[in-house]
Structure formats: C-alpha cells, structure tokens
Amino acid sequence: MTRELRVVGTSVPRDDAIDKVTGAARYTTDLALPGMLHATILTSPHASARIVGVDLTDARSVPGVRAVLAGSDLDVRLGLYLRDKRILARDVVRYQGEPVAAVAADTLDVAREACRRIRVEYEELPAVFDPRDAMAAGAPLVHPDLAGYDHMRGVFFPRPGTNVAHHQKIRKGDAPASLAAADVRLEASFYNPPVQHVPMETHASIAQALPEDRVEIWTSSQSPYTVRHLLSVCLGLPHAAIRVHVPYVGGGFGGKAGLGLEPLATVLSRAAGGRPVLVSATREEEFNTMPSRQGLHSTIKIGSTCDGRITALEATYVWDAGAYADYGVNVGRAAAYSGAGPYAIEHCSIDSYVVYTNKVYGTAYRGFGHLEVLWGIERVMDQMARKLGLDPAEFRRRNLLKEGDTTITGEPFTAGHGKPVECLDAVAKAIGWGRPPAAASDPRKVRGKGIAMLHKAPAMPTYTSCAVVIKLDEDGAADVLVSGVDYGQGTYTVLRQIAAEELCLPIGKVHITWECDTALTPYDWQTVASRFSYMGGNAVIEAAADCLRQVRAVAAQALGVAPETIVCEDELAFPAAEPGRAIAYKDLALGYTFPNGNAIGGPIIGHGRFIATGLTHLNPETGQGRPAQFWTYGAHAVEIEVDTETGEIEILHIATAVDAGKVLNPLSCTGQVIGGVVQGLGSTLHEGFQFDDKGQLLNPSFVDYKIPTAKDLPRRMTPIFLENPQPGGPYGARGVAEHPMISVPSAIGNALADALGIDYTVLPLSPERVLLGIQKKDKTP
C-alpha cells in the first residue's frame, strides 16, 4: 500500500531546540546531586615510564578530600573490542596525559590542591611514536602482555610479542600479478595526523555507588547500554546492578562511544563511601587524555589499463592507535573493507595494521577511518587519471561500482545500494566541472577544481540490535522511548516523524524522551556508525504497528466488528465502511469504557525491534564476507582559490551529494551535510596533533589547535540529496550523518593539485605546508 507521506520527508524542527535556546537543556555537568563530590585526575608527564611509586599520603591529608586512588588500587582491564586499558595507569604509563591517580573532594579547588600533592616516582622507559617504527623488529613493546588480553575472537587478531593490535587482510583475486601486468602503474604514500573530535561539551560522568555493589551513573555518552555492559563485564557486576542515565549530550562524533570516564567516577564514588562523584574533563584533558582519531600512514599502488580500467589495487594502512586500541582495532577493520574506495576492482589486496605507539589513543571519529583511507585513495585516483590523460571524473565514472559488480569483500553490488555515479554527476554539474575556473581575484592567487568520491557502511557487530517502546497517553498522544542517543545529529526528530506517520498522529502529539535510562528505556547497542535512524526507524515502524494492532483490537471489540475492518486516521479508529462510528485514540489509549461503565483493553504500549541481518564475520585470511547492513555513497566537488604568497586556501564552492535513499527530514539532512563538510574542512586545513620528540602533545588547547569558526566557511555550500531507495531502510532511507565529512580533504587536495600542479600527501593543508610545497616546486627545475 502506498500512501502520501504527511510528516516523513518534511523539515520538522527539532523539539529539543526549545530547551537548548532557552538554557533549559540539562547536560551532565548541569546536574548537581546532593553531596556530590568533584574529581580531578593527575596525568602522566611521560610518554612511557615505569611507575616506581605513588605517594598519596599528603593528598589524603587535605581537608575536604574524600577519596584518593592510584592504579595500584584497581586491577581491572577495560575495552570494547580489546580489553587493553586500565582505569588508572598501573605499573606503567603509556602516553603523556594518561591518568595515573585521581582525587574526589568537596570542591574542585580542594581536589586540584590534593592532586598537586600526589607524588609519583617514574623511571622513564624507551618509547615509540611512529607506528612504522613500532612495527619494526626490536621496537619497544607498548603492551608486552598483549597475549593475555581478552578480545572479540574471530574478528580481531592481536599479534602478541609485537605492537600490532589487529591486522585486517583483504584479498580478492591476484593483486600482485595483476599489478605487475598492468599497462600503467602508480604508487603513492600519504599521511593523516591524529586529530581531536572537539565536542563542545567535554567528557563528563557522575557516578554514585549504592549498597550491594550497585551503581547509578549520569554520563555524557553515545552508549548507555554499552557503558552498562562493559562496566558489568569489567567490574564483574550483574547488568541490573548498573543504571546508566544519559541526559542531553553536547556532541560526540564517536569520541563518546564505548567507555569514557564512567569507570573512574564509579571507583571514586565507591572509595568515597557512596557520595556521588562528578568527573569532568577539562578542555586540555579532552585533548591530552581522552581519545582522538588515529593517525594513518598509507601506501597505495594501483594498476590500470590504458583506457582507464583499474585492474588492481594494493594498499597498506598503518594506523597510529596510540597507547590503547580497544576501539581503534575496529577502525582498522572497517577502513580495510572500504579501503579501495567505491570502485569495482577485480584484484585487490589490503593490509590494515592497527599499531600501538606511546601517544594519546584513538577511537571512533565521524567517518570511522574512511576520511583517512580516502585521503589516499581519492588522491591516487586523480594522479592515475592524470597519468592516463583522462578527466578525473570520467576515470572515476569508468570504475565506480554499478549493478553486477562485487565489492572487495565479495558482496554483490545491487540497485539497492544506491547510485554512486549519480552522486558524481550531480556534484560535477553543480560546480561546472569541465569548465576551467574563472580568473582569480588577484594575480598572486590561482584557482583549481577537485572532485572526490566517498562511501561508508555502519561498522558494527554482526548482531547489532535495538528496541523501541511507544506508549499511548491519556490524550491519545504517543511517547517514544529509545536508548539511541541524539547528541545533535537529529535522529530523535526523525523517529518522531516516523512515529507520527505510522500512528496517524500530528507531529505535535508524538513525544520522545530526551533522557536515556537503562532501567527504563529499551535496549540499543550504541549510537554510532550512522545506523540509528535506520535501525531505530525500523523499530519505530514495528512499535507503531504494534500499537495500532492493539488500538484496532480494542476498537473492534467496542464496536462489535472484526479488527481487520478497523482503519486508523487522524487520531481516530473506525470501521472502514462506517467512518461515523469512530472512536478517538484518547478513548482507547488506556482501555475503552462502555456507556454502562464496563471497561476493556488496557494501556496501549507497543514494542518494536530490529537486528542486523545477513552480516558475517570476515574471513581472517581473505577478508571476504558481508560486513555491511547498508552502504551510503556520495561525492564532493570543490572550487578553490589559493594565495601563492600566503599559502591560504579559500573554498569558493563545495557541492556535496549523498545518496540518502530517502530524505526523512531535509532540514536535518542539510544540517548534517553542512556541519560535516565544515568539520571535514577542519581536518583538511587546520587540525592535527603535533608532538615533540618525547611524545608531548604540543597543541592541547584552542589557542594552538584551531577548529573552523564562522569566518572559515566556504563562500558557497551546495548539499544535494539523491533518493535511490534502500531496501529494508525506513521509507528507503540510509544513514547520512558521518558521510559529509569523508573525502572533503581529498576533494580539496585534488583541487590544489589542479591549481598548483603539486600533489600534497600530508594533512592538514595548512598555509605553511602549502607554501613550502610552492617554494619547493619553484626551486625544482
């Protein structure tokens, strides 16, 4: 049955925006529990050292101090995919900024004072900072005990005795032979530095230890149930002993997936006799101590026929995991199975190594490794096109995945995957691809155009699931309960729209609960991977259908007709043939009462669920298998102007096309594209960690680590959505939240090559780097 959509596909404004523009929205650090203590952490000044001794005596003597802990008090290992991390460093420190000890006190000032009085004696150990050095024989081992670490078996393959936390292989066809036989070959290497997520709200958690080893937590997290599960596993508690609340969250971008400061807040509260404890990262700790995006060294070789058919691709990806890889291993895995770009390549070999170093550790970050690998892949595509004398868009067009092709893990590409080529054509048209750029505004400036493809699928366990509950209220309105978190991306508004559509309610009568609570809101794995509107949306459809089944059953009994004759429209249930005998939802929501007082039915509560289906683990030797519930494809095209005297790049126009399957909310989707593109500009032009030769992070503040401001916007941004439906997606929709950020660097790098004839390989494309490239080129005869 097809019917005109009323709410889905329209620009419903966010309901939470009202709390947010008035200051009423409460985030974790806005909560104050009675007797709440404030915690501070003492971090390691060394990148690699043995902890010889920790003296907490002086700290404990400060009046107002309620708990002081060091790693020696806590024999626990934490992790999602690989349990390699301590709550506080124990025996050794592995990065500068690693928490070594912590204090909970009546006030933050007292806690800081006590922290200053903790004395730690270190003995410096050899350190390794470059993951390529860390892979060499004889490199210092960041985790000599790797063999003993628990991990997700059959999916991740740590190599004990080395610094390799995971090695993901992809083997399709015979890449070495095909490469050797190729008409044209090309090899290039690239680098992405580690960067920070920079949510405007730093990590913060409150925990209160309760009797019988129970704990209640309020946390700025993307993952209420994963926090509960991992705490349960790591602390050896039953799940029901842990209750996790997630209030409003001030941005996440992946950095608040998995575990954050919850374990530390928990052990501090226990040590403080059950007083609630707030642990909130300072901005400096957000840079220095909390996880970042992994750095990546890539080397890519491709072979092509003379007429521009890619015959083979070999890639080596060496990820700079930093000191812990509990999440980074999955970035290395996901970026490998996407690691050849959205192209049909018969012969492909990829080795993706996630490698420990003595630096702040990596985790999920919007795009999950794809911005990084596509920085190399999409630059190589341009270089190969140039070598072949082909237009870069045309070269891509000849190689993009289309119906009948298979991906590099052997997944058949179908019409339901969407149309990458339409994305390419749309952005090319939008910026006038093929026409030379207009003359620059100044003789010292030059212009160029660039294009780049993007793709990504949710990286998640094969059995990822979620549930939704919908309750009908006394007034016939609906309350939607979920545990996916809307930390800004807009998924709750979309879920409200879907519920309104399915329940035949006006949007104003569908409410969603803006606090997740593992004791009350139903299960969701965690809100990552651009999967929640897809999975949660499907679960809402099922929950709404469950509600309406109950509505129809009660209405049918009340009217003395068969349930299948009842239709629901405009908050009314009535027999299809007799619209005059309608009963309002509000008279059914809690049960129906006959005129004589007899009642039937009862409160209507619908339940819906969704689980990923058809996914397989990848073959450990070949990487073949089905890793993706769905893929989202897209493209960017840019026109830039470069100042050859300052090295500054101005983005004149960036067009971004995403095959969304179905745009559920144009306002939200546009917000994701614009926000993602500008975040991508940060990775392209400004951002990157800088370390000294002792592994000290040199730019852990907004003074030295610049993210884009309102002054840094492109002159023009054009979001374009394609709607080739996704089978199995709610209304045909796919996830689009991460994607706009991916390949922004590649498109701009390609435009820079067009403008200057220089192939930059290292991000960010800062004025300094651009200028050095220009000077080097000028010196080269």
């Binding site: 620009s11 966010r14 405007m200 800004g488 917000g671 500008v678 002054k711 374009i720």
Partner: protein, 171 residues
C-alpha cells in the same frame, strides 16, 4: 564571595543558572558568553566581584513571559541548533550584536559570531538565524515569516513547515 570566583562559576554554581556553559575555561570557545552591561563577554574570564553594580544578562533571560524571542525562534526554525551546547553562548553573542547594531551586514554578523565555536552545525544555519532575526525585528519587514504562537512555550512541536520543492537541496 571568594575573590577568585569567576562569573561563570557564580552563575552556574551559586545562582544555578546552568544555561551558560563552560567549553574551555580560557575564553577561547565562547560557550560561556553573557552580556555584561549589554556587551558580550566570556564569563570564564570575568571575576564575579568585578560585576558588582553591572547588569548581567544570560540565556535564561532571553525568553520573556514564556515566549521565545524572535532570535530564539529563528535558531529553532533555521536548524541552527544541533547538540545545543554552544547555543546559549551563540544566542548571547547574537543578542549583543543586535542590541548595538539592529541592522548588521553579513560581515558584521560573521565578525560578531566568530568568537563562538560550534562543532556540529557548520555555522551556516546560525548565521542565517541571526540574519533572519535581524530582518524580523526591523520595523519595515514585519514579523518572522511562518511565525508560530508559542503561548505554552512548546507549541512549536505542532509546527510542520510546508515542504518547498525549491529548497532542501533536493534533486
């Protein structure tokens, strides 16, 4: 009052006005922007004792009588809010601008908002919201297009703008 207490701490911890957020504590992100005698300041860099005798305005004072201000409504309707953590500071910077210059140019809007960091929205919708609010309060232009009554402060929930096929970046 302790002399080292910042205005930000005073607002949040003593007056429980938690709408004003701390994003960095060193005056670089603008999340704690409030108006001090009508001028935007970052409350983390102002000592509470310094504001004796001054008028301090926070985001909590922006809506009056349960009604969102035109500026707040513009933020809601243009999609200028995502995670919302920067929003109070953005609102106060914009309010400061519109107070001293009710008819700002695009450049003046960018200049006024450039000290407030946002990681979600890419700023475009925020700048559009400020433009829209400025246009709406200019007497010649009249009320905000598509204005919705907000008598209970939340009735915007019912507002579904009609889809405009020319907009939204559709094919």
């Amino acid at each position: 009052m302790p002399s080292e207490l910042t205005l930000l701490e005073f607002l949040r911890n003593r007056l429980y006005l938690t709408g004003t957020k701390e994003g960095c504590g060193i005056g670089e992100c603008g999340a704690c922007t409030v108006l001090l005698d009508e001028k935007p300041v970052t409350a983390c860099l102002v000592l509470a004792v310094e504001v004796d005798g001054c008028i301090v305005e926070t985001v909590e004072g922006e809506a009056t009588g349960g009604q969102l201000s035109v500026l707040q409504r513009a933020f809601v309707e243009t999609g200028a809010v995502q995670c919302g953590f920067c929003t109070p500071g953005m609102i106060m910077s914009a309010r400061g601008l519109l107070r001293r210059n009710p008819n700002p140019s695009d450049e003046e809007i960018v200049e006024a908002m450039a000290g407030n960091l946002c990681r979600c929205t890419g700023y475009e919708a925020i700048l559009a919201a400020v433009r829209r609010a400025a246009a709406a309060v200019r007497p010649a232009v009249g009320p905000l297009a598509g204005e919705v009554g907000l008598a209970d402060g939340r009735s915007l929930r019912g507002a579904v703008p009609k889809r405009d096929p020319e907009k939204g970046g559709r094919r």
